[in-house]
């Protein structure tokens, strides 16, 4: 396998995730796109671990998985709270903090 296989796939998934974060209005969909971004980074880490022949990249990938799990838990709790207060999770309506 070539290193560019993994790296280009990671780049494609990253850009699709960035598009999702920009385009989506529903907070849950934005969180899904963020997961896509984090996963594409993991793919790069795994490819570099294989390229350099040590396990450091795999350890980083495991840590990223743990952080992503924590992020989803807190993120969805916040979405739930917003929904309970406003009956809507459309991100463009959350403008109370605008100065």
């Amino acid at each position: 396998m070539f290193a560019v296989n993994f790296l280009l796939l990671g780049a494609v998934l990253f850009c699709i995730g960035v598009f999702g974060v920009i385009a989506r209005r529903n907070a849950v969909m934005v969180l899904m796109s963020v997961e896509l971004i984090l996963n594409s980074v993991n793919l790069n880490l795994i490819a570099f671990a294989l390229m350099n022949g040590n396990v450091d990249g795999q350890i980083f990938a495991l840590y990223v998985i743990a952080i992503a799990a924590a992020e989803v838990g807190v993120g969805l709790a916040m979405v739930l709270l917003v929904y309970r207060n406003r009956r809507s999770i459309a991100l463009d309506e959350l403008s109370e903090m605008k100065g």
Partner: protein, 173 residues
Amino acid sequence: MLAQVNDSVNVAQNVGFAVIAAPMVVAALFLVSTKNVVHAALWLVVVLAGMAALYVLAAAEFVAVSQVLVYVGAVMVLFLFGIMLTRAQIGRDVGLNNRGWAIGIPVAVVLLGLLSYVIIDAYEDTKLPDAGGPTPTEAISDGVLSPYLIPFLAISFILLAAAIGAIVLARKD
């Protein structure tokens, strides 16, 4: 890429990579374009499972199993709970995109062009070595528990804080 195949490249691995990668890209595109929130969650499952398969292809078995356990198991259930509890419309939903969503297309395309240029420039001919079998989990545990012990402890505290924070935020009273 197949045009560059020579004796030192394992063709079967490249074909396997393409077979896994193509559905992943298609599923990711559906994920960001579908009008149905539940379908988006299911497309995300396809991407995450394909990712686990690629980890196996790159000889990272332990990470692949963790990916299936954490993402396809726990995170997807969390997402489905989030969708159900926020009572998103089951079925087509017209209000899923921002008004200015089209601005995302040029941003993503320019970013992809930039990233591909850099990647191809830097790693054009780099071949990944044959791993010769799975990575021993022993090596990963040795890494986690000796040189990367401090980050490991930090992540333990982050997970604890996240669990407490999620409970406090989501409680009814």
